[in-house]
Symmetry: C2
Subunit: 321 residues, 2 copies
C-alpha cells in the first residue's frame, strides 16, 4: 500500500456500525456493533489522525417513531427532529464508551466527546414539496390514515403496507461546527451530526423541522467546514460497484470525479443507498480549493478497512480531485 | 446590591425551566419554558461570566418510560440510562436554539454547545440496595407486577397506584468534564450533565446502569471539577425556607455551612426536593480549598433572579465557606 498522509478525517459510519446483522437496533445489538466499529476507528486514531465521526440512525429513529405512535394516547408524541436528537445521544454515549475503551487499550491518551448537533436546512427547500424518504414501520392503510389526518405524508408501499415518508432537504451548514472544531482542537475524537444532524431552519430562534437530512451529505459538508483532508464513507461493502447485480459488475478502485459523475448520471447507484454516498464523496472532493487547504480525498469502503483507507490508497473506492 | 465577581458559574436549571406551569413536558411547553430560562441565562453571560448549564429531566424521562412500556411488544425497550441520554439531547438542542437567539439578541458573540455527558457511579454504591427514587407513571398493581417480573422495583404508593423506584447513587466524577472544560475554554456556553448525567459504572468499556443520579449533586461535583467559583441552583422559589408550612416559616438569606447543616439535620428539607439542593450547595462550598482556587459561593434561588444571584449577593439563599 502506498502511504498517504491524513491530518484530519471525517468518517461517516453506516447502519452496520450500529445495528445487528439482521438490522436490529436493540440496545445489545447496537452496543455489539459499535464495539466492532470502535476498534476500526481506534486504529485510525492510532495512526495520528484527528478523527470526527458521524453516523446513521435509521432503525433507531424507526423505533422511536413506533413508540411515539403507540403511546400517543398517554404521552405527547415528539417531533421527528427530537427523535433524531435522541438517537444522537444514545449512539453518542455508547460509542464514546466503546471508543474510549478501545483508545485506552491501545495506550492512546485520547478521549471521545459526543456533541448534540444541529444542521441548518432551507425552509423553502424544494424537497419539502415532495417527501420521499421512508421512515418508521409499515402500517395497514386504515392506521396510516390516522396519521395522514394529522398532516403526515404516508405512501402505499405495496404488499407490506403503508409507510410514512418525509422530505430530505439539502444540508446548508452544520450549526455546531465551531463547537466540533473546538473539541477537535482540544484533542478529542468527536461523535457528532448523527443522522445527518437535527434539522433546523432559520429564525430567531432556530427551530427544528420534521425532516431527515442525509447523513452522508452532512458528513461531506462537515468535512469541508472542518478543513478535513479525508472523508471516509464506511459501509458494508468494500467498493462502489458499477453494473451491480449483472455479469458485468465491476468494483471501482481509484476513480476521478468525472468518471464517478458519469456513472451516477447513468443511473448506476440506488438513490436510497449508494447514491447519497457517491454524491457525498463527489461534493467533498469537487469544487474550489482554498490555496492553503490540503488536497481532498474521499473513500467509500467497508468498516473493517477504514484505517487502511485513511492511511493508504489501496482499499475502497478512492476519489481524488 | 453589593457586587461580587464571578468568573465561572455552573447553573442547575430546575424542572420549571423546561416544563409547563402544570408540569407538562410536551414539546411546546418545554420550548416555551426554555425560552424564559434562556433569557435569564443570557443575562448572566452578558455580565461576563463563563456559564455551564445543567438541567433536570424528571417529566421527560417519565414520558420516555411510558413509551418504552406501551410499545414493548413491537420495539425493544431501552434502559433508563438511554432515556436520560435522550433527554439530554432534546433539552440540549432546544435550549441551544433558545439561548443562541437570546445571546444574539443581546449582541453577544457567544454560542451554545450541548454535550452528551456521562457521570461515573460506583457499582457497589449502597443506594443500589435500597432503590427509592420514583420514576415514570403510576400503574395498577397488576400491571406493575409485569415489570417487577422483569427485575424492576415497584412500590405501592397509595391511592394513585404503584410506581417504579430506582436507586440514586452518588456521582463520583463527571466522565466528560474535560470536554466540557475544553468547550468553556473555547468560549461556548455549555449545556451538559442533564438529568445528573448518563450513569455509567467502571469497566472496559464503561457501561450504563439503570439508575438516576441527582442532578443538583452532579452539578455541585461538576462545578468543583471545573474550578467554578459559583454554583446556582435555580428553582421555583426565591429562597430556601425553614419552618416551611408553619407560622414560623422563614426564608434563609446569607447563611453559613454550619447553620445550613444544622437545619438539614433537623429535618427541615424534603428529601425529594429541597434536600438535594441544600446538600449540593453545601458540598460545593465545604471542604478543602486549593490555595489557588477562588472562594466558592452557592446560591439557591428562583430562575428569574439568577443573574442577580451570580453578580450580587442580595437575592436567594447565599452560602459561602
Amino acid at each position: 500500500m502506498r502511504g498517504v498522509t491524513s491530518r484530519r478525517a471525517v468518517i461517516a459510519l453506516g447502519g452496520n456500525a450500529m445495528t445487528g446483522p439482521d438490522g436490529s437496533a436493540t440496545p445489545a445489538a447496537q452496543r455489539a456493533a459499535l464495539a466492532v466499529a470502535a476498534e476500526a476507528v481506534a486504529a485510525v486514531v492510532a495512526a495520528g489522525v484527528e478523527v470526527v465521526l458521524t453516523h446513521g440512525n435509521g432503525p433507531q429513529v424507526g423505533n422511536l417513531l413506533v413508540k411515539n405512535e403507540m403511546a400517543a394516547a398517554v404521552v405527547p408524541p415528539v417531533p421527528l427532529d427530537w427523535c433524531v436528537a435522541q438517537t444522537q445521544a444514545t449512539v453518542g454515549f455508547t460509542l464514546a464508551d466503546e471508543l474510549d475503551a478501545a483508545l485506552a487499550a491501545r495506550g492512546l491518551d485520547r478521549r471521545t466527546a459526543a456533541l448534540v448537533t444541529r444542521t441548518l436546512v432551507d425552509a423553502d427547500d424544494p424537497h419539502f414539496a415532495a417527501p420521499s424518504k421512508p421512515v418508521g414501520r409499515y402500517l395497514p392503510a386504515a392506521e396510516a390514515a390516522r396519521f395522514t389526518a394529522l398532516g403526515q405524508h404516508w405512501q402505499d408501499r405495496g404488499p407490506r403496507g403503508w409507510r410514512r415518508v418525509v422530505a430530505s432537504p439539502e444540508p446548508r451548514s452544520v450549526v455546531d461546527a465551531p463547537a466540533i472544531a473546538a473539541l477537535v482542537a482540544a484533542g478529542f475524537v468527536v461523535v457528532c451530526a448523527g443522522g445527518g444532524g437535527v434539522p433546523v431552519v432559520e429564525g430567531a430562534p432556530l427551530h427544528g423541522v420534521e425532516t431527515v437530512v442525509d447523513k452522508d451529505l452532512t458528513a461531506a459538508l462537515l468535512a469541508r467546514e472542518l478543513g478535513a483532508d479525508t472523508l471516509v464513507v464506511a459501509t458494508d461493502v468494500p467498493h462502489v460497484v458499477v453494473g451491480w447485480g449483472t455479469d458485468a459488475a465491476r468494483p471501482l478502485g481509484r476513480v476521478t470525479p468525472a468518471e464517478l459523475r458519469a456513472h451516477a448520471a447513468a443511473g448506476e447507484f440506488d438513490g436510497g443507498s449508494m447514491g447519497p454516498k457517491v454524491e457525498a464523496a463527489l461534493r467533498f472532493v469537487e469544487g474550489p480549493v482554498d490555496g492553503l487547504a490540503p488536497p481532498r480525498r474521499a473513500v467509500v469502503t467497508s468498516l473493517d478497512t477504514i484505517a487502511d483507507a485513511v492511511t493508504g490508497d489501496a482499499v475502497g473506492t478512492v476519489l481524488t480531485a
